[in-house]
């Protein structure tokens, strides 16, 4: 099953979203969070991103969904060292993209299908 890493400036945001994914998608999807800076304040830490990727990787690949700005930079820093085509950073709305990714992963979707589901969230109107 494809794993998902949620990278947020806020640990609470990432954990709350992770809870949603377990209920709307499935608790079986390996979802791991990297939230907050190393000192617990708002921010992102490359070390916690790297740890979350390792935990989420079950062999079928990992999709990383960042919330904003420097979360993207933290992920890119980590990916410079990993450089694996099984680990994909996707540009997607944080909540909607993560929910779509989790449901697709829970359905047995491939790394490409899960990434696409997250990206397509941008084009689905909420109303």
């Amino acid at each position: 099953m494809v794993g998902i890493v949620l990278v947020s400036h806020s640990r609470k945001v990432a954990e709350g979203l992770s809870e949603m994914l377990a209920q709307i998608g499935s608790a079986e999807v390996p979802v791991f969070v990297a939230g907050g800076a190393a000192d617990g304040r708002l921010g992102t830490s490359p070390d916690s991103v790297a740890a979350a990727i390792r935990e989420a990787d079950r062999g079928d690949g990992v999709v990383i969904i960042p919330d904003l700005g420097s979360a993207v930079l933290s992920v890119k820093t980590v990916l410079e060292d990993i450089a694996s085509d099984r680990v994909v950073l996707v540009d997607a709305p944080f909540v909607e993209g993560s929910v779509a990714a989790a449901v697709t992963a829970a359905s047995g979707g491939s790394l490409e299908e899960v990434s696409d589901a997250a990206r397509q969230a941008r084009d689905v109107p909420k109303l």
Binding site: M20, I24, V99, V124
Partner: protein, 94 residues
């Protein structure tokens, strides 16, 4: 040309009245169930229509309790898909 053989893939359709609102969690269940079939499945509520494999589109239908939703499927296992998905929607909240 062979007579009596369907030229198009089989299709099936059924309408279900939602017993409760089609919220996020049942939408997730519906999407996951739809993905188990080969058939292409769509869900229609009023003027809105969703690809059953997109949980976000299914949620955005805004199908509240009492709304009639129509499941359409086309593909080899269309009939099975419609039957299973109709049962799932009819049983939501039960």
């Amino acid at each position: 040309m062979q007579l009596g053989r369907p030229v198009m893939s089989p299709s099936s359709e059924r309408t279900v009245r939602m017993p409760v609102d089609l919220h996020a969690r049942p939408a997730g269940e519906f999407t996951k169930a739809a993905a188990r079939f080969q058939a292409t499945v769509r869900l229609r509520a009023g003027a809105k229509e969703a690809d059953a494999r997109s949980v976000l589109m299914v949620m955005a239908l805004g199908a509240t309790a009492g709304t009639d939703v129509t499941i359409t499927a086309s593909g080899a296992d269309a009939a099975d898909a419609v039957e299973a998905l109709a049962a799932l929607l009819a049983g939501v909240g039960a």
